[in-house]
């Protein structure tokens, strides 16, 4: 993740609006990864996600004078991306069966995790193996949309809870509930499969936070 830098952004925006248009490239660069993956999470299609990403950055550029600095720049940009994605979904809605807001947070928090009596750390180096990345992507893409979007912003793009809530226009409490359910679903789905990626030597996951 790229750490947002409000002073750099404010200075950049001021200069772009004053005519140094080329600075827009540097302004948007730290956001472009998050834009794409948020769009992919909503649209579930690479071509559509890239197409809407381009529309999003153009919209950001055209509306730059309307950014008031009340939220983080990235939050504002990702809100625009989300709106663009929802607009695109409405256009292609007959291609989708599930409704956008069909899932609610009303379900009870009860679930049974994958029960393991021991757990070995899967080192991130294991990601060099393609299958591990595939497993993770498949599990995340298989989540219901409301959970997938939260996981994408909080766990993959590492926005904080407040920013995640602002982009998705839901309460922080809802973010926490969805995050909890999403992680629980992922743990249940992935933990038994991931065990195969644990190193063979006896190296156990370290202490608790």
């Amino acid at each position: 993740m790229t750490i947002p830098n409000p002073e750099f952004e404010a200075d950049c925006i001021r200069r772009i609006l004053a005519g140094e248009k080329h600075l827009f490239h540097e302004l948007i660069r730290p956001c472009e990864r998050s834009i794409y993956f948020l769009l992919f999470s909503v649209l579930k299609n690479e071509t559509e996600a890239e197409d809407v990403a381009q529309e999003t950055v153009i919209k950001v550029y055209q509306n730059l004078d309307k950014f008031r600095g009340e939220s983080q720049f990235r939050t504002w940009v990702l809100s625009i991306a989300r709106n663009e994605a929802l607009g695109r979904l409405r256009k292609i809605s007959n291609r989708r069966e599930d409704s956008l807001e069909a899932d609610t947070d009303e379900q009870t928090g009860d679930y049974t995790p994958a029960i393991l009596t021991s757990w070995r750390e899967i080192p991130t180096e294991a990601l060099e193996k393609k299958e591990l990345g595939n497993l993770l992507r498949k599990a995340i893409e298989g989540l219901p949309e409301i959970y997938r979007n939260v996981v994408l912003l909080r766990d993959i793009e590492e926005l904080d809870i407040r920013e995640t809530a602002a982009v998705l226009k839901i309460s922080e409490a809802s973010v926490k509930v969805r995050l909890h359910r999403a992680r629980a679903l992922l743990q249940r789905d992935l933990a038994p499969q991931l065990k195969g990626f644990a190193p063979s030597k006896r190296r156990w996951f370290g202490g608790r936070a």
Partner: protein, 84 residues
């Protein structure tokens, strides 16, 4: 008060986020000291969270950034009155 496994599971995500009050945290920690199952559930959940944050799991399509900036360049080249 002694909390049970189900209670621990309900707070796993918040525990990982460091978003549980100190008293509950202490109770969970006490439970984890003796419960192998909950320790494994916590560690596996946390491991999934750590793995997801790795940029290698989700990679941008090849050429995405180049195409995006080429599109921006086309927009920037437009005369100012067409930008608004």
């Amino acid at each position: 008060m002694r909390i049970d496994c189900k209670h621990v599971w309900q707070h796993i995500s918040a525990y990982i986020e460091n978003d549980v009050d100190p008293q509950l945290r202490a109770e969970i920690d006490r439970h984890l000291e003796t419960c192998e199952i909950c320790s494994a559930v916590l560690d596996s959940t946390r491991n999934v969270v750590i793995l997801m944050a790795d940029d290698r799991v989700f990679e941008l399509p090849r050429g995405y950034s180049e195409r995006l900036h080429a599109r921006i360049d086309r927009e920037l080249e437009k005369p100012p009155d067409r930008n608004i």
